[in-house]
């Protein structure tokens, strides 16, 4: 593996409400090398999305720092493209316009925008849909557009916040394979948030399991099963069992906490 690409150093994040304080992230340290596919795994409330948002620059850490490409992160930017679970496509733009948008913002010449868009539409099998509006696309197709939109930025880092969470199982597998193909072709560093153990094992070089409140790193492991991974293989299932126990412990804590809070109210 090559040099450190994203360096998360001593990150804490505290959310304050009127009545209480929630420690969402506590002393997170991660060094992510160039080109690694990292999955952040854990139940709801474990801070995995909070960490991703901190890396994206939407919500900066309360303390500690995150360095990407040698630069301290102070806000969102196109060098860290994000794919959202809700797609977040601009509904008033066609597929083509959505993909071109980031390039137009950069002020690139039209010819260059056109050829990049053309290429991406082809790569994600969207050419036939170029003039459609997002409302006329299925969830899977919308997420392809969102991926193309981020790829257009040519950012070295791709952040994905449960991007396939709302898709049916078959579409999901389809897009996972597509993502792996794109990743191996373009060598991007990917941080991918999921609560699906199987998805994490299927995709990741490295899985970071997080604890429920406060969010800490519970386990940080490399997955050395050769790709494409077979979800029915013995080693896949052994890992699934191991991770399943870790995640369920946290899920149980999450559940207990919810019951306790419900009792207080």
């Amino acid at each position: 593996m090559s040099a450190t690409h994203i360096d998360v150093k001593g990150v804490n994040k505290v959310f304050k409400t009127d009545s209480r304080e929630v420690i969402a992230l506590k002393d997170i340290n991660l060094e992510i090398p160039q080109g690694q596919f990292v999955c952040l795994l854990g139940p709801s409330g474990c801070g995995k999305s909070t960490l991703l948002n901190a890396i994206a620059g939407f919500a900066l850490p309360s303390s500690g720092e995150i360095i990407a490409d040698g630069k301290l992160i102070t806000g969102p930017g196109p060098e860290r493209g994000m794919v959202f679970q809700e797609y977040a496509l601009f509904p008033w733009m066609t597929v083509e316009k959505n993909v071109a948008f980031g390039l137009e913002i950069k002020g690139l010449p039209k010819a260059q925008i056109d050829s990049t868009v053309e290429q991406l539409l082809k790569m994600l099998s969207l050419s036939d849909f170029r003039n459609r509006f997002p409302k006329d696309l299925s969830g899977g197709m919308r997420q392809r557009v969102a991926i193309a939109r981020v790829l257009a930025l040519d950012s070295p880092i791709m952040l994905m916040d449960e991007p396939f969470g709302a898709l049916d199982a078959l579409t999901r597998r389809n897009l996972q394979d597509e993502l792996l193909r794109i990743w191996s072709e373009l060598k991007k560093t990917i941080i991918f948030v999921t609560h699906s153990i199987e998805e994490a094992i299927y995709l990741a070089d490295r899985i970071v399991v997080m604890t429920y409140r406060p969010g800490t790193v519970k386990r940080d492991m490399l997955v050395d099963i050769p790709r494409l991974r077979d979800p029915s293989s013995a080693e896949f299932n052994a890992l699934k069992r191991e991770l399943g126990m870790l995640v369920m412990e946290e899920q149980q804590r999450h559940h207990n906490d919810e019951m306790r809070l419900a009792a207080v109210d």
């Binding site: 806000g75 969102p76 994000m82 496509l89 601009f90 008033w92 066609t94 948008f101 509006f133 409302k135």
Partner: protein, 273 residues
């Protein structure tokens, strides 16, 4: 499909035809005083007379088209449309930037909202005396009143439109490297368009009401002026002809707005989401 459309039109025509037939029958049987309510036939004849040119065609002084449209009806329609369009352009043209600013900036909102809330419930009609004092007679007071009528609906909807822009679009745009300025023009504004357009539609409707009223006080042409003039001469057939003209013009404007809406909002999924 074409068949279905014709059938729809035929079904829609049944009740109006019955009403007109009943009305005509009452008139022919002498049940109603034609001074109070003229027969539909009389109205139709008056309407044709209203639409036809007043002078004979003279190729030396005017073009054929100019002559064909020189009848009172067309001049009145043109006059009313002109006032609606100018007044609406002024009102909406002011409301849009102010609404965008008030929607996007808490401070602007805090500064301007109290004033707007006090002025908004005052109907444009209540400004008639002041508008005559300020602008005299003619088109100016009419345009002022129409602009007032169009201003508030567009303003309120623009504010609401900007405020309801889903945060996810803003986040996605920031992630794509959008600057503050581009955010406004390329994200907030288009996202607010559905709200703004419904404000525009209400604004046009108000403008249309106000134009008729303002023509009754300040100018000497236009559809509103014409029906008031007809009342003074007891031309009740002309009053009804004028009213029907107003109805048809309103309908045409609404169909036009609908077409524009459908085109501008072809990306929009409608209310179900």
């Amino acid at each position: 499909m074409a068949n279905l459309k014709w059938r729809e039109i035929a079904v829609g025509a049944v009740v109006p035809v019955l009403v007109i037939a009943l009305w005509q029958a009452c008139a022919m049987l002498g049940w109603i005083n034609p001074q109070v309510l003229p027969s539909p036939l009389a109205v139709l004849l008056k309407w044709v007379e209203y639409a036809l040119p007043l002078q004979a065609y003279d190729p030396a002084t005017q073009s054929w088209l100019g002559w064909a449209l020189s009848g009172e009806l067309w001049m009145d329609t043109l006059g009313s449309m002109y006032r609606v369009l100018v007044g609406f352009a002024v009102g909406a043209g002011l409301a849009l930037p102010i609404g965008l600013a008030m929607g996007a900036s808490q401070r602007m909102y805090a500064w301007l909202n109290p004033l707007m809330q006090v002025l908004r419930p005052i109907p444009p009609i209540a400004y008639i005396p002041l508008s005559i004092l300020w602008f005299g007679l003619g088109n100016a007071p009419a345009v002022f009143l129409i602009a007032l009528g169009a201003f508030f609906p567009v303003l309120m909807n623009t504010i609401a439109g900007v405020r309801q822009v889903d945060g996810i679009y803003i986040r996605a745009a920031r992630n794509l490297g959008v600057s503050q300025r581009a955010m406004f023009v390329r994200v907030m504004l288009p996202a607010a368009v559905p709200y703004i357009l419904s404000g525009v539609r209400i604004g046009i409707g108000t403008a249309f009401i106000v134009v008729i009223v303002s023509e009754m006080i300040a100018v000497n042409n236009g559809l509103g002026f014409r029906i008031l003039e007809a009342r003074e001469y007891f031309w009740s057939d002309k009053i009804v002809a004028g009213m029907i003209s107003i109805g048809i013009l309103g309908l045409i404007i609404d169909i036009g707005m609908n077409k524009l809406n459908n085109h501008l909002l072809r990306w929009h999924r409608g209310l179900e989401n």
